[in-house]
Amino acid sequence: MKITLKIWRQQGPNTKGHFKTYKLDHVSTDMSFLEMLDVLNQDLIKKGEEPVAFDHDCREGICGMCSLYINGRPHGPLQTTTCQLHMRTFSDGETITIEPWRASAFPILKDLVVDRSAFDRIQQAGGYISVNTGGVPDANEIPISKKIADEAMDAAQCIGCGACVAACKNASAMLFVSAKVSQFALLPQGKPERKERVEKMVAQMDAEGFGACTNTRACEAECPKGIQITNIARMNREYFSAMVSSYEVAAGEGGAG
């Protein structure tokens, strides 16, 4: 099949970017979207033009490194990661527009590559259970009902790709943050720190410049791992309960939104 690509090119974080148009005429329907970009890049190198930089690694939909805003949707038309999107989803002759994630908390590094380290900093603020290696009880001494374990697992499946932020008109990171807050709020192991955790993570989320949640549910619709917005509701409850009852109130202005 033949396709036309309109791709955002930007040399560095502080340079001005622009769209550039490319034509590809030997695309196979079996190719993954990233393999199609590989083919484009091979052509570009041969022609002496710098290849398009994009993030990717595992190419099996789990590492969360690939991104791309394709035809106005994060990870493209299907609810999956870009690496799992195949060209059979597009039609012959189609024009495909490719942009980087758009959010001020995810600054562009080059072309389609953005800096998502804000997500790491939110996790560092409280996305853990404070246990050291060793000295923990036998695994079966903490029974957890299957329903709760399954629900925690549903939330824990988040791959940290940032599609939720890219999809949101407010560039809110609520779905991402609430997935981790939910996982630990549901599990008995996470209970001792649940109040400080939600406060600290929300405070960091605000400090990173992510927007508030206005319940448009765009994040849920685009999440490649099916993380649900019930997690956001749970985080709001956790946050509210922490605000009125915890010993330390870490959050300043803003809030869970």
């Binding site: 690694d57 853990y128 923990v136 695994a139 299957k146």
Partner: protein, 641 residues
């Protein structure tokens, strides 16, 4: 140099306990005087960095991805073994130990494997305490499954995403230490050299992948947790970025490379669909618990999955069940892969390329109902459908073997130290625990064992012995020299300005390796491959084309450095495969087979670890042998019949 494995004295069950007691301790107040570098943040690296930070050491951790959570451990699907015996089915530490040594076809070090089995139980406790949501029974206790040829149910799992959940657990522990200031994290940073002064590892040289800046980092010890080198085959189940560069550069600085030819070819991957293929996707081995592997009895060219449903039972050859009645579809990975190759070599392969076999769930769905199968494998079935367009609930899957894991790696002693004092290798990056074949669900176990429960003990002994004053600053001339070399290497690549892309060379190398150093190897083929690799290497340094500069995000430049190292490693793998003229585990030499085509070991000649010493550019490497003594496990020819 004589290889000293430093395996402690005493009965196998007491070695680790005794050794831990004999290791020197670093006074708690002195731990903050020691700096440790951890390269790689997969299961081994993240768990090591977090645990060492908790103990009080100053840790610097490095990953080339944009976040430590992306390391390729994240993609492991099936599970993690532990000798908990929660199922009351006869498991024990000794049985896990025995199974692992046997499964590795008697080419692993007994003492290491026993330790691995011992600490396996602690790993599960640790992960649960961190909030890893393992699968559970209705009563609230942990669920297990039998996995990849094991006769007991000892595999713990989190749906089909066990690696993800374990890594996110280790990542959370790492994050806690980053927040505490005990670990400094460097994302998008690649290690390009180890600095050795006075015979000890003193630090590393890195390149910031965003700015291109070359930097020096010094420490008392360096841990390489950089994974395996399956991408030498170009097509593998590894992530695109997985590479050998850190291990290889360490090798060139004096770390011996152990059993480089030991490669695991995983039997259940989605077959190649065309020339554009950039990686291969694994379908978890757990699928073999319910799926039946078959091809038609007589060749049918281009047989599609849709047409397979109509093929009568008596016209199907369930070749694993036929050849191995006792293990059937659950034979170990190497056996399953080789048999798939045989039926394809006979022309009975299916699909458009003829390089695939069926994995059929029709019987399981009939027996257990679609709902049960959906619960067990739903996400894997979805993934399969997304990639191939076929619905595995209705038609059989098509699978073919693909390179998945490398048992070989940097040689380490019982303390996980390489032949360079102060330089350690953990997880897949070392050679130690899996012998010539890794059992399913053992990689996650080993990565976490090394990081959580081995290195925190063994590193203390080294550090206490050298003392905190025994450190070289990053301003030492050796660091400057090494930085200059790294910069010169980068410039050399950029200045070639040839005509062929990095990927073209990588693909060519991969084809050579797969053809001659893959599932089946012969002296003739390997000799040919060696020459081909040498020619390809010369061509690479003459004709590779890399655009852009060194002081920017330059993906082609990153890839070029990695492919340059793969080209050198490929040759060593071929040398190692040539040297080992026996068949064992994943290493199958056509010259060493039983009359019915099974692998034949030669224990008299080859019960050793081949550790290779780098002798300079384009020089043959020197072979050192670590004899393997089996005091507990009885050597037998593996039989799964």
């Amino acid at each position: 140099m004589k290889l000293d494995s430093k395996v402690p004295e005493g009965p196998i069950g007491e070695k680790w306990t005794r050794h831990k007691f004999n290791l020197k301790l670093v006074n708690p107040a002195n731990k903050r005087k020691y700096d440790v570098i951890v390269v790689g943040t997969g299961l081994a690296g993240a768990s090591a960095a977090a645990s060492l930070g908790e103990l009080g050491y100053n840790v610097k951790a490095f990953c080339f991805q944009d976040s430590p959570r992306r390391a390729h451990s994240i993609a492991a699907q099936g599970g993690i073994n532990a000798a908990k015996n929660y199922q009351n089915d006869g498991d024990s530490v000794y049985r896990l130990f025995y199974d692992t040594v046997k499964g590795g076809d008697y080419r692993a070090r007994e003492a290491n494997v026993h330790r691995l089995a011992e600490v396996s139980v602690n790993i599960i406790d640790q992960c649960v305490a961190q909030g890893v949501p393992f699968a559970r029974e209705y009563g609230g206790l942990l669920a297990n499954r039998s996995f990849g040829g094991a006769q007991v149910s000892r595999t713990f799992y989190a749906r089909g995403q066990t690696g993800q959940q374990l890594l996110l657990g280790a990542y959370s522990a790492l994050n806690r230490q980053i927040a505490n200031g005990k670990v400094k994290m460097y994302n998008r940073t690649e290690m390009l050299d180890v600095v050795v002064v006075d015979g000890k590892a003193r630090g590393i040289i890195t390149r910031d992948l965003v700015t291109g800046k070359i930097e020096a980092h010094s420490a008392h010890a360096v841990l390489l947790c950089t994974g395996g080198y399956g991408n030498v085959f170009y097509l593998s189940t590894n992530a695109k970025g997985s590479n050998v560069t850190a291990a290889w550069r360490a090798h060139k600085k004096g770390a011996f490379f152990g059993n480089p030819c030991f490669t695991q070819i995983h039997p259940t991957c989605i077959p190649v669909s065309g020339d554009h293929q950039s990686k291969l996707t694994l379908m978890s081995e757990s699928l073999r618990n319910d799926g039946r592997v078959w091809v038609p009895k007589t060749a049918i060219k281009g047989l599609k999955a849709k047409e397979a449903v109509a093929i009568k039972e008596e016209d199907r050859d369930y070749f694993l069940e036929r050849r191995y009645p006792s293990f059937g579809n659950l034979v170990p990975r190497d056996v399953a892969s080789r048999n798939a190759k045989y039926v394809c070599d006979e022309g009975r392969g299916v699909g458009s390329t003829g390089l695939a076999v069926f994995l059929d769930f029709a019987d399981a769905i009939k027996r257990d109902g679609r709902k049960v199968i959906e619960q067990k494998y739903g996400n894997l079935f979805d993934m399969y459908q997304q990639i191939t367009g076929d619905n595995p609930y209705e038609v059989p899957m098509m699978i073919f073997p693909a390179v998945h894991y490398t048992m070989g790696g940097l040689w380490v002693d019982y303390n996980l130290m390489t032949t360079v004092p102060g330089l350690y290798a953990l997880g897949e990056a070392n050679f130690s625990d899996h012998g010539a074949n890794r059992l399913g669900a053992s990689a996650l176990m080993q990565g976490l064992a090394d990081g959580y429960f081995v290195i925190p003990y063994t590193i203390g002994d080294y550090l206490a012995n050298i003392g905190w004053n025994d450190k070289v600053g990053a301003d030492h001339p050796a660091f400057k020299e090494s930085m200059d070399q790294v910069k010169a290497g980068v410039d050399r690549l950029l200045n070639i300005k040839g005509t062929k892309t990095v990927d073209e060379f990588h693909r060519k190398l991969g084809l050579i390796m797969w053809e001659y150093c893959g599932m089946s190897r012969s002296e003739q083929g390997l000799t040919k491959a060696k020459k081909m690799i040498q020619e390809l290497k010369a061509e690479f340094w003459r004709d590779v084309k890399i655009l852009g500069g060194s002081s920017e995000l330059n993906v082609e430049l990153e890839k070029a450095g990695r492919v340059a190292d793969f080209l050198e490693l490929g040759e060593l793998m071929v040398d190692d495969a040539l040297n080992r003229s026996e068949s064992c585990g994943g290493h199958f030499r056509e010259e060493s087979a039983t009359p019915d085509g099974e692998a034949m070991r030669k224990d008299d000649e080859f019960a050793y670890v081949a550790a290779w010493e780098y002798k300079g550019d384009n020089q043959p490497e020197a072979l050192h042998k670590e004899e393997l003594k089996f005091e507990n496990v009885k050597l037998t020819q593996r039989s799964y019949k």
